[in-house]
Amino acid sequence: MAEKPKVAICWLGGCGGCDETIVDINEAILRVVDAVDIVLWPVALDFKYAHVEAMKDGEIALSIINGNVRNSDHEEVAKLLRKKSQLVLAFGACACFGGTPGLANLRTKEDIFGWVYRDAPTVVNPKGNAPQAKYSMNGKTLTLPEFYEQVYALNQVIPVDYYLPGCPPPPDLVMNALTAVLEDKLPPRGSTLAPHKALCDTCPRNNTKPSRIAIKDIKRIHEVEAEANTCFLAQGILCLGPATRTGCGEACININIPCRGCFGPVEGVEDSGAKFVSALASMIDAEDDSEIRRIVNKVDDEVGYLYRFSLPVSILKRKRF
């Protein structure tokens, strides 16, 4: 019997939702496990990193890595899997762009530690203990992974062959990706395994979009009751659809929530935030300076909004301190 191709599934700085979505392909997963040997999947199976270390370089056919790189442990695992794998798939928004945890790039490491271990109202820490990368006691040294200054997307640490964005990626695209690997029908390396168009192109509300959107005010989704079948932007509610790749199945739109950008930039675009700035500016319907300023000031937390999933891969990457 010919040996089945080996597949590793691993999470780095992620929430586990991406592992969940692999299970969400339901019965189809049985076909997948028939066709491949899973050699690592920390969330679901009891393999150790030592098993992977013992393998030959390139022995794993495909590594599906979700989550970003936040600490030295993530980096070590990412580099190990890269070395042992022929293909690496960055799976989910965190691996592709840094994801929501990437918003931590707006703060310093000290700021984050100060809040989590000292200042947050729920913290009781009279001794002021905070984790150290190294700690010696009774002649023995304990170590923890080093927490980096910033969050990295996977391709900022190891070369990545394919990308599958989404928070999490929808099961149909997961299945397409797995089928493409198994049937050896993959597009050129570096491709994103999702449609190339913007979300607006496939949005069910597209036909309610006026030819030129003119908004006199910017509203947030919780401030108004959004109309169920009308373009969000036409209602003055920020929606990242014009600058976000489609493929998600319009999951948010269908439950009356505007797009938040988890599929990242459209094909060929480097920085989706810059593109959305252009799109939004053209919709602002105001004549004089003070009116433009007033509308612009209604956008709350600009970077958090424009780069909710992609701050670490944006052109400016992180806040300057």
Partner: protein
């Protein structure tokens, strides 16, 4: 201490700025000068890239309001600038570092002065802090 001079990038619309002047002579006086056709053509990606690559300020010179050759490119540029200023502030880059002026100077003689004036006004802010790149950053495949 050595005198600090901010690095500026200046975009200007060819319909309003310097089209009668000697472009070569002007570009000797103005460092990083990019005459383009319509300020509305400036993708904010270029502004972000300027800051990423070490610019301390970006000056955009567009045509007077109501005088855009393409109807309202200058006005669109202004709205973008106001929005991007807020984005830059969240990145820790002061909004004074991005400025748009809508006016006219076919000879272009005032461009070096405008650049100098902006340079002087942002000099007290010092340079934009650089983000440390990873030395071992892997190339994108």
């Amino acid at each position: 201490m050595k005198h600090y001079e901010p690095k500026l990038v200046c975009f200007s619309c060819k319909f309003g700025w310097g089209y009668l002047g000697d472009e070569i002579a002007l570009s000797r006086q103005i460092k990083n000068w990019l005459p383009i056709i319509c300020s509305g053509k400036i993708d904010m990606t270029h502004v972000l890239n300027a800051f990423k690559n070490g610019a301390d300020g970006v000056l955009i010179l567009g045509c007077p309001e109501g005088d855009c050759h393409f109807q309202d490119g200058n006005f669109e540029a202004k709205k973008r600038v106001y929005l991007l200023q807020k984005v830059l502030e969240s990145y820790g880059i002061e909004k004074e570092r991005l400025r748009i002026e809508l006016s006219l100077d076919p000879e272009g003689k005032s461009i070096p002065q405008l650049v100098k004036r902006m340079s002087d006004s942002i000099a007290p802010l010092g340079p934009v802090k650089r983000v440390k790149e990873r030395a071992d950053a892997a190339p994108v495949v």
